[in-house]
């Protein structure tokens, strides 16, 4: 981590909510529309509670992190999911030196 900001185009998408069919399909469908590549997915169900963390690459994308965050957070909220989309640097800065 060289401490430079804004160089990477990777973002972390996290989704929390009651488990149901089609959550991953919804997120990945949206990502495909914006030409966003999924690099890694980590998903678990804890007592019926769905938790997913996805690392994506926005460099080929037609949308910025902040804009994607707005779209997914709002759509997620409408279907009872809490979605966060954040540039990876906030995690890198906090956990990596």
């Amino acid at each position: 981590m060289d401490g430079q900001t804004g160089k990477s185009q990777r973002a972390i998408i996290s989704v929390f909510g009651r488990d149901r069919i089609g959550i991953i399909a919804w997120v990945s469908g949206r990502l495909q529309e914006y030409s966003i590549n999924i690099l890694d997915i980590n998903q678990t169900i804890l007592q019926g509670f769905f938790t997913m963390i996805m690392i994506v690459d926005l460099s080929p994308a037609s949308i910025e992190v902040a804009e994607l965050a707005k779209v997914l957070e709002q759509e997620g909220q409408e279907s009872g999911l809490q979605v966060n989309v954040q540039h990876e640097d906030i995690f890198n800065f906090m956990h990596r030196i």
């Binding site: 900001t5 540039h87 995690f91 906090m94 956990h95 990596r96």
Partner: protein
């Protein structure tokens, strides 16, 4: 391409932001107004307005964009300017009020929620501009919404200007009187310093020092809730472990400040000045410095042991934070504003926390007596004596101290005041009823301490 982040790390960051109120408290853009000086007040007003609105045009937008990109709230976007006593030197009191109003219009135009720098540095004496500015403070603060004022009355190098201390006692009281209907709100925008830092991003004391560049980005982080949680989760940790846990959290909190500072600096084209490593509480539940101290094992903040607990906290925050940032500055330490901290308010209501204990606490933490409502029938001399005591603590201990007390006009100890928003509300605290008038009215300067002779 390597994915190096563990899910637990991502979840920890999310918890810090969502559950524990981690946020960036402020991005403050410092702007030099030295090139706005002139002989004609209308010209200076226009230059000041134009410069602030030009330099800070994208500040609020940039803050919002960064908040969305990194998924962390950036609560305040603010501006600090060169001490107005320097810019308006040559104008009288009315000219100074006009400059305050021009700055207020500029702050409104760019959408910041406070603008600091209606300030004077008078630790050793007054220039004509300083005198005019101090005279103008009550009217300027009562008739503007966003302007904040600070006056530095002492320093370790210069001693304490006791004439300024008395003038500021009067200014605090008059500011409160002019805004009595709003519980003395103008006094909440006025802070009296000893050893004021020139790069502080926090209000009401922010100003852009003369040693600073043309413009600069300073960032203040927050995060008492994060520290309160880690202390609560480790009830059996001994003091060494406790300090270590707090240091680790302070490091993480400060890294976020460093990230936002660098990003804001790139986007706004202003150099990145400092991260202020302060633990700044808000009135929200779970965002309290008092709660950290109580989680350490005190029944109530203010109990015997509070000063020791705060000393440990303050030092651990600095040690952890200093490693996380390339440039640390500002006030850097734990803040203990009463009205802005739900735990402090509860401690006062329970009778656990007094003005005397708060004064002791200021010896070991950042800043000083902050956001404390005092009875409205207090005299200017008593306020001045409170300021003198704080300034003495700062002068002798080579640290910043400050006083921001709000005389609650028409109210007594135990009554409540409400300022709303981040400023919160608080019960009125009693002051010592014995007078210090003869001491305060001696005039002159308390000499600088022997420790000032460090060359």
């Amino acid at each position: 391409m390597k994915i190096t982040l563990a899910p637990q790390e991502i979840l920890q960051t999310l918890d810090m932001i969502r559950q524990e109120n981690l946020d960036i408290r402020t991005i403050t853009l410092g702007i030099s107004l030295l090139d706005c000086r002139g002989d004609d007040i209308a010209t200076v007003e226009r230059k000041v307005y134009d410069k602030v609105t030009h330099k800070a045009a994208n500040l609020v937008q940039t803050g919002e964009r960064l908040a969305a990109r990194y998924g962390i709230p950036i609560v305040n976007k603010r501006v600090s300017v060169t001490p107005v006593a320097l810019i308006g030197s040559g104008f009288n009191r009315d000219g100074m009020v006009r400059l305050a109003k021009a700055l207020d219009r500029a702050a409104a135009a760019v959408g910041v929620n406070f603008l600091g720098g209606f300030s004077a540095l008078v630790q050793k004496g007054f220039s004509r501009g300083d005198e005019a500015l101090i005279e103008a403070i009550p009217e300027a603060l009562a008739e503007t919404l966003y302007v904040c004022s600070s006056v530095n009355v002492g320093s370790t190098k210069a001693g304490i200007n006791m004439d300024a201390v008395l003038k500021m006692g009067e200014a605090v009281l008059e500011s409160a009187r002019r805004t009595a209907a709003q519980d003395g709100l103008a006094a909440a925008k006025l802070v009296v310093f000893c050893n004021a830092p020139e790069d502080n991003p926090f209000m009401a004391g922010a100003f852009h020092g003369v040693g600073e560049p043309e413009s600069v980005i300073n960032v203040g982080v927050s995060g008492p809730g994060v520290v309160a949680s880690v202390v609560k989760e480790n009830p059996a940790a001994d003091f060494g472990e406790l300090a270590s846990l707090i240091k680790r959290m302070a490091f993480k909190i400060t890294r976020v400040g460093e990230l936002i500072g660098r990003a804001a600096s790139e986007e706004l084209g202003a150099p990145f000045g400092i991260v202020d490593l302060s633990l700044a509480p808000t009135p929200s539940i779970g965002d309290s410095v008092a709660e950290i101290l109580e989680n350490m094992g005190l029944e109530r903040c203010g109990a015997h042991g509070t000063t020791a607990a705060l000393a440990l906290l303050n030092d651990a925050v600095k040690k952890g934070g200093a490693m996380a940032s390339s440039h640390v500055g500002g006030l850097s330490g734990a803040f203990i504003p009463v009205s802005e901290d739900a735990g402090m308010v509860k401690a006062v209501e329970a009778g656990a926390l007094s003005l005397s204990k708060l004064e002791a606490m200021t010896c070991v933490c950042s800043v000083g007596l902050d956001m404390i409502a005092i009875p409205g029938d207090v005299t200017a001399e008593t306020i001045a004596a409170i300021i003198a005591d704080e300034a003495a603590i700062g002068m002798i201990n080579k640290k910043t101290t400050a006083v921001r007390v709000i005389p609650a006009i028409g109210k007594q100890a135990g009554d409540r005041v409400e300022f709303g928003g981040l400023l919160g509300g608080a019960p009125v605290i009693s002051v010592n009823p014995f007078a210090a008038d003869r001491f305060i009215r001696r005039g002159g300067r308390i000499p600088a301490p022997i420790t000032s002779l460090s060359n």
